[in-house]
Every structure is written in C-alpha cells, then in structure tokens.
C-alpha cells in the first residue's frame, strides 16, 4: 500500500494483466448518425488504455456506453471483477456500483456543493445511511460521515487540493475543477477509472500535474484507467495501450509505438507532419 494512504483505492479483485473490460463489437446510432460501428477491444487490469481519434469519432459515445448512459443497438460490453457483468443491460448507477467511475469531457461537477460534498457524493455507493438515520444524524449516519471524511482527506492530499476543501466548486478555476472531478471519481474506489479529456484546456505545467496524479493512481494503486485525450504527448507517454477510432470505426489498436506507425492513424488523426502537438 502506498505511503501516506491508509485506504485501498482500487477495488478490483483482479490481478494485473487479467481481462477486465471486454468491448465486443458494438454498434450505436443516433437517428441517421452511426456513431459506432462494430467497435471492439479489451482492457486489462492495471493498464492505462487511451482512446484517440478525430472529433466526432465516437470516443465519448463509446465511454457513455460503458457508463450505461447510451445503450448500443448491437454488441455487448462485459466487465469482470471476479464475476462477469454485461454492462449493456445495466443502468448507470448499477454500473457505478461495480466500481466503474468516470470524469466528463465538459466538467460535470455539482456546482453549488463544496469540494468536500462533491467528493463525499463520490462515496455514495459506499455509504449505508438512509433517510431516517440521516435525518436524525444518529448512529451509523454520523459515524460513517466521519469515517469517510478520513478517506476523502487522503484523496485531498493526493490531489493537493487541501486549501479549497470547503469552497463551492462553481467558483473554482477550470484546472482545479478538473482535479476535483478526478477526486470525485477516485472517491468511489474504482476498479476502472474512465477519464474523458482530463487535460483539455491546460498548459503543459498543469498537464504535468494531472499526469502525475493519473500515474500515481495507476502505478501505486493499480487502478485500471481508460483515458480519452487529444494531446499526443501525454497519450504516447503514459498509456500502455491505444485504441484509435475514426467515424465510429476502430482503425488502430496496439502499443503507442505500433499506433504511431499505423498509416491509417496517421492519415486520419495524427497528420503527416509527425510533430506532436
């Protein structure tokens, strides 16, 4: 267990390298728009998988299928955590209970709540109090609030957001909000952490910070991560495995090196000018 962290952040029972998420040939259409056609790939425990591709390629839609926000018309998404769950039949909150947490492309925090409350909401599935014990703030409700506060303090330390604990997130700067959103996902003690463009709109210093947090979570806690990111520098450096989408079709899948050399990927996404932007 990493130093200075008294809780298990990763809730997956799998061993590194085990098959965790199996996306099997999924199709998704909105009216006339075919957002995903026959996309399939696998994610292994404790790996960082990056999904890249041009805008509108269907990256977010794919992850929305994993979260249960969209339901693919065909194909299946299976999740392993000792047992096998078919995610395509589940509602988002059920999927969260399996230990799949995520952040969003355009920051979807609870604006009027404080940082602590946002993080505490991340603990939702671990809290047991109900409306009665909560309304009385009695017994379990009180105990678990305090216990979980301790857990959150660890995350706060990890993400270096001590000074803003009690601030309403709506008033924070963009970069800090992105961090809080990561913290909220971590609070769930995820087996699988999904990050949708966590570094968009940051300069390289801030990206470094973010990369540091992501690597910490992955390397020291062993959390499996799927990340969508347009910054090829970040993607190539931190991911173990990259999947490339274009117009809803998978056009590349492999290690960073393999993908960088794939002509289809170069044509559709990276551009001939190999300079990384």
């Amino acid at each position: 267990m990493p130093r200075g962290f008294s809780h298990v952040l990763n809730s997956s029972p799998l061993q590194p390298g085990d098959l965790q998420l199996d996306i099997d040939n999924i199709y998704l259409a909105f009216g006339g728009v075919q957002a995903l056609s026959g996309v399939g790939f696998q994610v292994r425990q404790s790996e960082i998988t990056a999904i890249i591709g041009p805008n509108g390629a269907g990256k977010t839609s794919l992850l929305n299928c994993v979260s249960g926000l969209y339901h693919p018309q065909r194909g299946e998404i299976r999740f392993h955590n000792g047992r096998t769950h078919t995610l395509t039949n589940l509602r988002p909150y059920n999927i969260a209970r399996l230990g799949i947490a995520r952040s969003f492309q355009n920051i979807e925090l609870f604006k009027h709540m404080t940082v602590l409350d946002n993080l505490m909401l991340g603990r939702h599935i671990h809290l047991k109090s109900n409306i009665f014990s909560g309304g009385l703030y009695w017994g379990r409700a009180q105990r678990e609030e305090v216990e979980n506060r301790q857990f959150l303090e660890d995350i706060i330390d990890l993400l270096e957001i001590e000074s803003i604990r009690k601030q309403a997130v709506g008033t924070l700067s963009y970069g800090l909000q992105k961090r809080v959103e990561l913290g909220r996902a971590l609070a769930l003690q995820p087996s699988l952490l999904i990050l949708d463009e966590p570094m968009a709109g940051m300069n390289s210093e801030e990206k470094e910070d973010m990369a540091r947090f992501i690597l910490d979570v992955n390397e020291e806690h062993g959390v499996t991560i799927i990340i969508i990111e347009h910054d090829m520098g970040v993607v190539m450096d931190i991911s173990d495995h990259i999947v490339v989408l274009d117009f809803g079709v998978k056009i590349g899948d492999g290690t960073p090196d393999e993908v960088q050399r794939n002509p289809a990927v170069i044509k559709a996404y990276l551009g001939e000018d190999q300079g990384v932007i």
Binding site: F110, H112, G135, L188
Partner: protein
C-alpha cells in the same frame, strides 16, 4: 469560516454550529420562541402559528424544489391530502388527533410519491405542469369523493381528555396557546431533520440531482429512486403542515388548498431562499407578516384618512406583487442570502472591505 477557530477533529469540523457565535444565536432564537406565547394575545399567536405551519410546509417544498430541483405546483394538493386524512380520521373514525398526524404524513407521502412518478421522464417546467395536474386531480378527486365540497369539521383537539380550548394554566391557555407548542415542536423537529438530511448521504444525493443529474447517476445515485424519495420526503413534511393546519383550524375545506396555495408556497421559498432550510423559515415569517402589517396599516388609516384606507385592499395586492418583484430584482437569492451578507459584514467588521 471565522478566523482563529481551528478544529482538531473531523467531528467538530463537521458539527452544525461550529462556533460559539453561531451557538449563541441559536440560544437567543430559542429563547424568543419560548417566551413569545406568554406575552402574545391570540392574534399574535394566530400569526405565529400560521408562520410555524407555513415554515413546515415551505421546508417540505424546499426539499423537493429548492434542494432536488423538481419544481412543484402541487403543494396545495399535497397539503390537502394531509389535512383531509388527519381531519377525516379524527372526525369520522374517532382516531386520536396525535395519531392522525403521522398517518396523514404517510398518506401524503404515498400520494406525493405517486405523482412523482412522471419525474422519471419529465424535467423542469414540464414536470412543474405535471405537478399542477396533481393539484387539479387531487382537488377534483376530493370534491367528487363522498367528502364532497362540504367542509370536514374536525373534533377539538384534547390533551388528557380536556379540550385545548378549555385547558388553562394560570392566565395561559386556549387553543392558540397550546397549538403554538405543538406547531413549534414539529417545526423544530422538521428543521432538525432537514438540516441533518442535507449533510448526509440522501440529502447530498438530492442536491447532486439538482445540480447535475447525469453525473449523479454515473456516480451511483439511482435517479428514479432518489427523485421518488425526494417526493416522498417532501410530501411527508407537507402532509404534516396540512394535518397541523386541519387540526389547528378545526375545519378542513378544499378551498384552502388551491393552486393559489401552491403559488404562495413557491413564493415563500423563493423569497426565503431556494435550497435553504433557514430561508424557508425567513420566507414564512415574511410572507405571513407583510400582509398582516399592510392590513393593520389599513385599519390605522381607516379613521384618520379614509381615502387612503379605501385604497388599502388594492394596495395590499399591489404591494404583495411589488415585494416579490423588488425582492427578486434586488436580491434574487432571497432572504437567506441577505441574512448571510449581514452576517458576513459583521463577522469581518470593522474590516468589511
């Protein structure tokens, strides 16, 4: 947070009233509430009781509308369920009054949950109008039921077999006096419940649904369940307000629970402050006291300046409208915000800026 106060445990950092100043303010308010009935006549007590009931109802509505973000125009209908259940049980079946109240709360919660079902699919104003439908349907159902349009006369409330009207201790007593204690006890419990609710799991989930429902669901909140729970909790408390009103007034009539009631309560929570428990109370005080003051002004003028007095009825309605407008134009976040600003000002005083 006040400077110079450090908390060494999470418990004290998470306590409701974290500083001595906050605690003293509470003691002061409690003291005023306890002393008031011994000095007020039945008119002031009527007003105070009305404030108490409105505050309870407003907290109920605020849980749904202010905290969970589901605008409700069905408040009147839900209050009616509470009032009728309590009233009819007492009047027709002879159930003791104190027992009718929890039953009424549960009944209202059930009906409220039922009408909360559309919230699965409806959002914002579409949901608001669905709750307006609840209002209309409940009212229609009451009138077409065997109860009909006639008022239900609720038997006088008794304690130890004595009717509250007749129960006296020294110079104090009467229905208004005793009901004051009943209402404020319930109000106190309601406030405590609501405040605690919003610092624990369920309440937090409500607020999360209001702020960003998709994110809440992805974090594991079962939207449908929690929305229904919010409808249930809210209507439970609204039912309490209805039941208390019915018992206190001794008569239950649907005309008291029309769409105007729904709008009145919305005004209370907006003026008080959406998503604020204390705001619900401030709103209740404000919305009950202002018309009373205006009407008293009218009476004051009636002998000295009859011409002005004649304008009072119109002015009263105009002022009601104007107050709402001015409030929202000047301080859209309501009385709770104004109160916070005042506190901030004094906390930092003399270094206010």
């Amino acid at each position: 947070m006040e400077s110079g106060i450090f908390h060494t445990t999470y418990e004290s950092d998470m306590a409701l009233r974290r500083t001595p100043l906050m605690r003293w303010r509470i003691y002061l308010i409690v003291a005023v509430i306890v002393i008031l009935p011994f000095f007020g006549n039945s008119y002031t007590l009527t007003l105070a009781n009305q404030i108490g009931i409105v505050a309870i109802g407003a907290i109920g509505l605020n849980i749904l509308t202010g905290f969970t973000g589901q605008i409700s125009l069905g408040q009147g209908g839900f209050m009616a369920i509470g009032a009728y259940t309590s009233g009819v049980l007492a009047a027709s079946l002879g159930v003791p009054w104190w027992l009718t109240i929890p039953i009424a709360c549960v009944a209202t919660a059930v009906v409220g949950t039922l009408f909360g079902i559309p919230s699965l699919r409806l959002k914002g104003l579409y949901l608001a109008i669905a709750t307006l439908a609840a209002q209309q349907i409940i009212q229609w159902a009451i009138v077409r039921s065997p109860l009909g349009v006639d008022a239900v006369v609720v038997p006088p409330v008794t304690i130890f077999g004595t009717s509250l009207n007749k129960l006296r201790i020294g110079p104090f007593g009467g229905s208004d006096f005793w009901f004051y204690w009943i209402i404020y006890l319930f109000m106190f419990l309601t406030i405590l419940f609501a405040v605690n609710l919003f610092r624990t799991k369920v309440g937090r989930a409500f607020i999360a649904i209001r702020d960003q429902d998709i994110a809440a669901e992805v974090m594991g909140v079962n939207l449908f369940r929690y929305k229904l729970l919010s409808f249930a909790t809210s209507s439970f408390i609204v039912g309490l307000a209805g039941a208390l009103l019915g018992q206190y007034r001794g008569i239950v009539n649907y005309e008291r629970f029309t769409i105007e009631t729904s709008i009145f309560y919305l005004a209370v929570i907006i003026i008080g402050g959406l998503g604020s428990v204390s705001g619900s109370v401030y709103g209740a005080v404000f919305m009950v006291i202002i018309p009373a003051i205006l009407s008293n002004l009218g009476q004051a003028f009636s002998s000295s300046a009859p011409a002005i007095a004649r304008l009072v009825p119109f002015a009263q309605q105009a002022v009601f409208g104007l107050t709402i407008i001015l409030f929202l134009v000047l301080e859209p976040e309501g009385l709770a915000k104004i109160w916070r600003d005042i506190k901030d000002y004094f906390r930092l005083w003399p270094f206010s800026y």
